[in-house]
């Protein structure tokens, strides 16, 4: 499929014959092949990618640090769930980008507002999956540990966490995907002066469509690689899911 896409693109590019609409493969590939050289004075592909990755990691880690403990609490205790549930369901449907104006008002232009947008995007899938995962832990598993003399703390670390881990991991995987979309979108908006989103927007302003496409390819590739990493961990550690009997 990817090969067909590339061939189709090249054929279309030859037919269209307009580098400002659809550049040919041979103008995009050099950009991709020299990832360390400066592009249009904005820094190299790698530099910009690292900036984006750094922002994502910050926002994503923050989201996980909030969502996982909160989700465990909500999954375990109905009181906490009742307290937070309505609020969460009210905020959750708001698209992360709708928070941009507010983020700019609160945190001004800069890394903090971008990290905030990423946090908003990632926190809900992680939270909801954590709650689901904790609720899905079989009661018998908890009771077995109780009869074997486990303390509350041991039940949490030996039963609830490992039992919910596969579902939490799915939440992290989905959450990371959304974070990655959010960082690029947030960088395209006015304000940032670095990152892959900024790079492709800047390239657009200069009519460098080949750079835009190179940037999009890099964005896609990074997303793909990270997702494969998540899947590999899932297969290696959480292969038992669906096999419990």
């Amino acid at each position: 499929m990817p090969i067909l896409l590339i061939i189709g693109w090249e054929v279309a590019a030859i037919i269209v014959n307009n580098p400002f609409f659809l550049p040919k493969l041979e103008t995009v590939i050099p950009v991709l092949l020299s990832p360390f050289s400066d592009i249009l004075g904005t820094g190299s592909l790698v530099e910009n990618a690292l900036v984006s990755i750094e922002r994502v990691v910050l926002g994503f880690a923050l989201a996980a640090a909030v969502a996982i403990p909160l989700g465990i609490g909500m999954g375990r205790f109905a009181v906490l769930n009742d307290f937070f549930d309505t609020t969460i369901e009210l905020i959750r449907p708001v698209p992360p980008l709708a928070w941009v104006p507010l983020a700019l008002a609160w945190f001004k232009i800069g890394i903090v507002s971008i990290v905030f947008i990423i946090f908003i995007g990632a926190v809900f899938p992680i939270l909801l999956n954590t709650v689901d995962g904790v609720r899905g832990v079989k009661n018998t598993w908890v009771e077995v540990s109780t009869t074997l003399g486990a303390s509350e703390r041991q039940i949490l670390t030996k039963v609830i966490l490992p039992g919910a881990a596969p579902t939490i991991w799915t939440g992290l995987r989905v959450g990371f995907g959304i974070s990655w979309m959010c960082v690029v979108a947030a960088e395209i908006l006015p304000g940032p002066t670095s990152g892959l989103g900024y790079l492709i927007m800047y390239a657009y302003n200069l009519g460098q469509i080949n750079v835009i496409i190179a940037g999009i390819i890099v964005i896609g590739l990074i997303g793909l690689v990270v997702d494969q990493g998540f899947r590999a961990v899932e297969k290696r550690w959480f292969g038992w899911r669906g096999l419990e009997r």
């Binding site: 598993w141 009771e143 540990s145 009869t147 074997l148 003399g149 030996k158 490992p162 419990e244 009997r245």
Partner: protein, 253 residues
Amino acid sequence: MTLELKNVSRTFVSEDNQTMEALSDISLSVENEEFICILGPSGCGKTTLLRIIAGLESASSGSITLDGAAITRPSPKMAMIFQEYSLYPWRTVEENVTLGMELRGVKKAERSAAAGKYLDLVGLSGFGKRHPHELSGGMRQRVAVARALAIEPSILLMDEPFGALDAQTRNRMQHELLRIWDKTKKTILFVTHSVDEAVFLADRIVVLTQRPGRIKEIVRIPGPHPRDRTGEEFGQIRRHLLEMIREESDPIQ
């Protein structure tokens, strides 16, 4: 070891404030190394009774004492074996068996040795590194038995442990359990709704009535183990028990 149940009752209160009596006035004293089956129609509260003894639930009135001390929460002197889905799928067989020791902070090497010993006892030597999903239903219940034995309790509480197994595996497991009982000298309380199983295994059968469960009769099964399932005496006791269970069963069911 002495386990004493005195006038144990259990009442549940539903959300609309309806009270439902599940167990009523159960008194029983269990002798050391005895094999007791608790038999009754479905919904008679036999599992509730076992869970109360295990300390997983509390009685509404009455008392349960083990060696003179009241049971209010799970005691290390008792281990419970559940019907199914009780193994941790992310742990190997060995890690399942030694969980109780792990919780008590026993060192890894010691745990491994114990796992070998108990897996050997239940006939699963060499399966320590497998995961539960690689085992058959019967083998998984053997692991559950090994895990219970590994905390070295004096009483095993078994809640229809072979209920989910096919008839042949179930027969085999009953023989195995008698062998393990003979070897380890545990006291066993075994909940079942199978008359056959109860007569084959028990020294005494506690027959419960329909809800609220009371003790209808305690039947002592004479003769040594293993018993001849096709013998005449076996047949008579079975008939008597089946009769009682029929009287107690809901006619609609």
